[in-house]
Symmetry: C2
Subunit: 522 residues, 2 copies
């Protein structure tokens, strides 16, 4: 006889990760009709810029959003890059399989990290429009391939529906997603603002955008300097847990524990590895596959007793203060800009990150102007516009829970002479790290690790001090101008009357006026 338990468990089944995210698309950022469209653009552009940089190419990206059949909530989203192209055999997995990719296992600073993004787009298109994604790609050898790809949700596998090869002298990848139940708007949360923010943080990228009504906008690149190709950065011993070490031990090609430590971790020489093994009472000649949890724990704690160089930061690729300034000037055309790149710091003991801050005042800076050219649906907010980035990708949703927002809010802006509710101010913050601690799979919000929050605060305050100086100089210049105005009005009269009284010729007071207007006497 079957027990109650047997009966209750009789329909126990395994489900695929695709099926999971199909049912929980909100976790990937597919929530709301405007946001869903922006998420597709975000995933496509993120992949495109990463791909170009990885190939050492200046990114030229085209984004087109076209209405389908004149339906209000039905669009085709096209994203094209000029990167290295994708070899044909990888197409089903890149676009149709979740949790597959080259990035997941490499400690490298890139925008994408999870292997879900672009297959998530394909899935969203498929479940709303029933249409496959179309991918055209060429690795630049005179031939291109075009495929229609869908996801087999039950198996988490890409299915190629159509395939066609043709001659083409072009290199790059073009992805087309057809989606329903999305809405195009030029709001703060729409694709236009997303691309504008991307352009600020990626002054080396040229982004062409065609809106559904045919409006063409080109965000020109503000620099021709290609960022260095990202480099894998081995983990630093201070940033790992015992479990990480065991996983490295399982995957390493090293044949001894000593070899494991010195090849798989950064800042660990052979001598240092042996010293740590001695302290941990673990034989340096032991096979990595035989490492036990207790030994791993002892090794991790022994690393805390030895002197090590701080984690390497050569793999981090901040924007650079000069490039960021170019980007902000190009897009915001402000009266004043100050940008800074802080030196690298670490959080959780060993995970390196770099904070960059830019502050822009006047011109098109500030919230009121950010949404320049928006539709009527746009909010007409005034005051400081905080724009958040992680590895140069804009974070535009879930602002409330983000470490960047928390840091910016914690500043007493009045001390810097700024009324954040009214000032035409854009505050830019970017965090670069191979390990950005996102709070969700939608990657829109950074967890409030104390070291990160503090570092952002420090950076913002440094920029705010420069803004304060600028505002002070500006105020003084204004006062001086007013004062000069008064002299300019009355001095000629005084001079004329005094000359007449004294019976002398009227003096030339122009040099004097110039001096008053030009020089600050205080």
């Amino acid at each position: 006889m079957k027990s109650l338990a047997d009966e209750l468990f009789s329909d126990f089944r395994e489900h695929s990760v695709s099926e999971f995210f199909r049912r929980n698309a909100a976790m990937l950022g597919y929530t709301g009709k405007i946001r869903s469209l922006t998420t597709i653009v975000h995933e496509g552009v993120t992949n495109a810029i990463d791909a170009a940089e990885e190939a050492g190419i200046l990114p030229k990206i085209t984004v087109m959003i076209k209405r389908v059949n004149d339906e209000p909530e039905h669009f085709r989203i096209i994203i094209e890059d000029n990167a290295s192209g994708i070899p044909e055999q990888y197409l089903p997995d890149v676009f149709g399989k979740m949790l597959a990719g080259t990035k997941l296992h490499r400690a490298m600073q890139q925008r994408g990290q999870q292997g879900i993004g672009i297959s998530g787009c394909v899935m969203f298109g498929q479940i709303t429009s029933g249409k496959p994604a179309t991918v055209v790609t060429s690795t630049g050898k005179g031939e291109a391939v075009r495929v229609d790809v869908m996801i087999d949700v039950d198996k988490n596998q890409g299915k190629i529906i159509n395939k066609e090869k043709f001659k083409e002298n072009w290199r790059g990848t073009r992805v087309e997603i057809e989606a329903k139940e999305v809405v195009y708007m030029r709001s703060r949360y729409g694709p236009f603002n997303y691309l504008r923010m991307t352009a600020i943080a990626n002054p080396h990228a040229r982004i062409t955008f065609v809106e559904p009504d045919g409006t063409l906008t080109i965000f020109e690149n503000a620099t021709d300097k290609i960022p260095e190709r990202p480099k894998p950065m081995p983990l630093h011993p201070w940033g790992i847990m015992s479990d990480d070490l065991l996983i490295l031990a399982k995957r390493t090609k090293a044949r001894t524990i000593s070899g494991l430590l010195s090849t798989e971790l950064s800042r660990v020489s052979k001598a240092k590895a042996d010293e740590v093994c001695r302290l941990a009472n673990v034989s340096p000649e032991k096979k990595p596959s035989e490492l036990t949890w207790e030994e791993a724990e002892k090794i991790i704690s022994a690393f805390k007793q030895v002197k090590l160089l701080a984690p390497p930061t050569s793999g981090l690729r901040p924007i650079g203060a000069a490039e960021l300034e170019n980007g902000m000037r190009q897009i915001l055309n402000p009266e004043f800009v100050y940008t800074l790149t802080r030196p690298p710091k670490v959080y959780r003991g060993g995970l390196p990150f770099i904070v960059e801050v830019g502050i822009a005042y006047g011109g098109n800076a500030g919230k009121t102007l950010e949404s320049r050219g928006e539709n009527e649906g746009a909010e007409g907010e005034a005051g400081m516009d905080l724009i958040r980035f992680a590895n140069r990708a804009p974070l535009i949703f879930d602002q409330g829970g983000c470490a960047i927002t928390a840091a910016a809010r914690s500043i007493d802006w009045r001390r810097y002479g700024v009324d954040i509710n009214n000032a035409p101010l854009t505050l830019f913050v970017n965090i670069s790290s191979a390990y950005v601690p996102y709070t969700s799979a939608g990657k829109q919000s950074i967890a409030d690790e104390p070291e990160i929050v503090n570092e952002i605060r420090t950076a913002i305050m440094e920029a705010a001090r420069e803004l304060k100086k600028f505002l002070y100089r500006r105020l003084r210049a204004k006062e001086r101008q007013e004062r000069a105005g008064i002299f300019e009005k009355f001095l000629p009269v005084v001079a004329r009357k005094a000359a007449r009284l004294a019976g002398v010729e009227e003096p030339d007071i122009k040099p004097l006026l110039k001096k008053i207007a030009g020089v600050d006497h205080d």
Copy 2:
């Protein structure tokens, strides 16, 4: 020669969902040392209550948290239920494989829905302590089995490390997780408050809790009524998209489209199915496996043209106003309670849900008192305490982004005579649905679907009106008492003096005083 693309893609790999969540444990709620411990308790207790209810048993749950080796951040968490037990062959998958379970594919209102929860606990224990989880279970036939189980992260598979069978006259399941890097505190976000909230929303559950210092707390069940066993609820045609219909078509046992519609969807008779097929111009005799996307779209839109009964709500299992009142009285011991269960509503056209609200005033209600017995680390907040629930499971994190919080904040509480910053008030909100729209895998926050927010607002306002009446009555009673006090003091003097002046005997004024104190003359 290898192209650049070939080189860049050479280490393209597939990763398991376990590996994904190992790297992104924050997405499952493992963020922060206090929260991580509460997440383990949450997952264990959620499973325990679900299992008992599914077996039609009054849940008796025991939770024990024990310190290991006197280390400050190292604990063993033990959760035991009295449910049906788990057949031995399912143990590796239940505890060691993510996205496996009986719940994912059934449209049934349960706390757990994702098949990640308890295997997430096993993983978190494993990556912080290196130890397997220990599971003891018996289906009640005189024999129990004890296994140590770990997750093979690369394969997303459970591995049984040890197995032992023994005679035991007991039925249920006990899970033991050993975790490091967690902290025990009696704060708002700690396990004590979590269990207290669970007890309020589950008055039929008896929860025994042993804290690390040995303190024993029993949250007695306030009712003996077992909630009905959850029933699968077929989807209503108004709540599905074309893609859902195609997936049903792929999995159904029905042999025709007409059969598909009338067996897999609710409120669709054979006649209605045929009518819809005619409207959609799809043959009712066609095989479900041959249904195309275009046909599915036509069927979905045809459903919107025919009359249908509203979605069934028989599968929804709200707490019930009387049971909720019992729960709130038992735990909060308030001066005033009002509870209500609203009639079922739907969101997104066809997904049914029920909102319940309870309001408690005085006694142990309100934030200050919520943390009664807390450690020194606890916050001493005053005023309204909003406690949020989904399918009776407490939501204690991510309060900011939640629809319940938004609804509660949107109320003008002064209109109800309440100062929410000071009043000793607990506001309880529970949403019951087979499709709670969570915003993340951590399941701590509900997306702000407009129908849901409005319904919560309406329910809160109804409860607030009753509170207002109570507060008014209370105020009047107080005034009356004051007035009676005045008469009581002066009337005897007046009576005595007047009697003396009139030369008559002093009258008995007691009946008069009683009348003044007892009756309201206004």
